[in-house]
């Protein structure tokens, strides 16, 4: 009897302490932490790469800094957590990071299973790189080859689809870390290195002799790369989405970090709205009205970020291509600030 009494009493305490857990909004968590925590790659030049002092830079890093600028008015209030392709989604769903700007391809299964995609910051496609002395000029000649790639990527799946649809044999050697993929390819373990074209351009710079390799003409997939956020937090989704849109719309309106303070005086109503001079668009998101001003002032517009990180004057040397604004022949098109 006593035992029962005690057990009942204990159970009562136990259940009483189970106050229904309420899920704090990401924005509140971020504000409480004083910084946005972003999951990034373990080092992909042009997208997210630390220098020898541990300062991160890249297109994806800029996305994170833009959100920090939007929330805090200070682009430096961003922390970076390097993640392998394999572990990135677990880090996001478990709450270890607030967002995942990590050259991640939007796909249906990821959207349904892992989190939401507020937008695209780089339109890409998967390509192949081989050693020149292999004497291969098309991916269709690669039957029987060994292919090095990363585990937990769309790359791994696309390459399987591609060879299967052509009825070609292949072996895939899949590593967790990108640097190990590059090292194994360089050591001759594989005949082919495959990943997103931008990734090839970035990783090629790490090879012993980059000029001994060629990129094959085939592009075998669509890889819209963009940041991810957790399911179930619409406000945070909107904040990330409009931070991206801010950079693209600013470029379209001709606003850059250099001329933004002059632009502030503009009487163009569109410019006034996006910079928070008129209206209360920021407040609708739970942000300061001048959030987009902070982003462009501190991080730059999309074009500036592109040129600084992956553009023609960088080691990656990528041209705008699909990533040009829609009015310049690309598909970068952001909904209006209104």
């Amino acid at each position: 009897m006593n035992l029962l009494k005690i057990a009942a009493y204990t159970t009562a305490i136990v259940s009483a302490s189970f106050v229904a857990t309420s899920y704090a909004a990401t924005l509140d968590d971020v504000k409480a932490n004083g910084a946005v925590t972003c999951g990034v790659s373990q080092g992909l030049p042009g997208f997210s790469n630390p220098d020898d002092q541990g300062n991160w830079s890249g297109l994806d890093v800029d996305t994170c800094r833009a959100v920090a600028a939007a929330v805090f008015g200070d682009a430096t209030k961003a922390n970076f957590k390097p993640l392998s392709a394999k572990t990135r989604f677990t880090a996001l769903t478990s709450g270890e990071i607030d967002m995942l700007p990590r050259n991640t391809t939007e796909t249906l299964s990821r959207d349904a299973q892992h989190g939401n995609f507020p937008g695209v910051n780089y339109y890409d496609g998967q390509g192949f790189m081989v050693r020149k002395d292999l004497g291969v000029s098309s991916a269709k000649e690669l039957g029987g080859a060994a292919v090095c790639t990363n585990t937990g990527t769309t790359t791994e799946l696309n390459v399987a689809d591609y060879f299967r649809s052509l009825g070609l044999e292949y072996t895939v050697v899949a590593f967790e870390k990108a640097d190990e993929v590059v090292a194994a390819y360089d050591a001759g373990r594989c005949d082919v290195y495959t990943t997103d074209q931008s990734g090839i351009a970035a990783q090629r710079t790490k090879l012993a002799d980059p000029s001994a390799h060629v990129i094959l003409p085939e592009i075998i997939s669509k890889e819209p790369l963009g940041p991810m956020v957790r399911h179930g937090d619409d406000q945070w989704f909107d904040i990330v989405k409009w931070s991206l849109n801010c950079m693209v719309d600013a470029e379209e309106l001709g606003i850059s970090s250099a001329n933004i303070d002059e632009m502030k005086g503009s009487d163009n109503p569109g410019i006034q709205r996006i910079l928070g001079e008129s209206g209360d668009l920021g407040q609708l998101l739970g942000l300061p009205n001048e959030f987009c001003y902070s982003i462009v002032k501190q991080v730059g517009n999309y074009g500036e970020s592109f040129d600084r990180n992956v553009g023609p004057d960088t080691p990656l040397g990528l041209s705008r291509g699909l990533n040009a604004l829609w009015k310049d022949g690309g598909i970068m098109y952001a909904a209006p600030f209104r």
């Binding site: 005690i6 769903t93 299973q113 029987g144 080859a145 585990t151 937990g152 390459v159 050591a187 179930g232």
Partner: protein, 400 residues
Amino acid sequence: MAEVQSNVPPKKGGFSLSDTKTRGLIYQALTIAMVVYGIWWIIDNAANNMAAQNIKFGFGFLTTQSGFGIIQSLIDYNESSSYGRVFFVGLLNTLIVALIGCILTTIIGFIVGVGRLSKNWLINKISTIYVETLRNIPLLLQIFFWYNAVLKPLPGPRDVHDKGDQLWFSLSNNGLMIPKPIPEGGFWIVFTIFVLGIIGAIVIKKWAFNRQMATGQQFKTIWTTLGLIIVLPLLAFVVMGSPLHFQPGEMGTFRPNAGFGLNVIPEFIALLLALVAYTSAFVAEIVRAGIQSVSHGQTEASYALGLRPGPTLKLIIIPQAMRVIVPPLTSQYLNLTKNSSLAVAIAYPDLVAVFTGTVLNQTGKAVEIIMMTMLVYLSISLVTSTFMNWYNDRVKLVER
């Protein structure tokens, strides 16, 4: 509940904190409550978080098509196989490297362990250096070392073979290519005879032992054993018309063609070498300690009884050393098995790499997949320790 209550002394007035038995019960109840609370909290927390993110619990994903290739599989597998099959491919890849690893570790560990006690200066020093170096370098580093040691100096397959070459034995950065044994009809008869031979040899050994115990007469089993296990199956093999042939590898455009010969991938070789080198250093120390635990007086006593060094080692030293060696040896086997999950670093497709890694990444079924993985390692550990405990019971001193 009834059992617990029957322990409560039938005392009037019941609840009294000064009663040690009651106090004991309270402590037990609190402990149980805390454990239950802990488990409840974990489950509740996981369930709430999963619900908040719209993640559903279930094992239906195991029948979904995987869509990715795996470099080594012991069972039929391709991109259209299911996630469930990926699980078995990964599991078998883990088991094969662990099994071969444990066998080689034992052999090398025993040799080096005995070597450390050798009176020969060179052997002694080499064994000491082996143990002290390998035991002190982190395993992951050793894995990378062997992978580079295997990959870097070996030629590419195209450098040493021309398209269409038959490969009977080839070592390249594509791995080790050896002929594949292909059994034909009638091979199973030879195999059955071989198994029967082993059983026969064991029976004779038992009989010889019992007879020696009873009558003191010795019976040399070595010749009957050899006859039953080697000569008899060999004879059957010839009589059946050699029902086994070997198929060599075949060079393709870039690498050896799939489906010809037996290719041991460099990732397997590197992982195996690293695991064996690392673990055998620990086993060597265990063996050395085991042998040293048997006092020298035992040897002297044995000699005094007229036993020669061979039987002394076999009948006196080893049985006593084994009871010291076996329990820690078990932990080393378990370590080796668990350490094999570092495979992912060099692209060896073990359970953790393909299932807990890739499948988890693709499906987001974190809870289910981690549960299955934990269950696998737990089962492997339990089976290994059960076997080793059984073996330990056999080798430990029978006190009379």
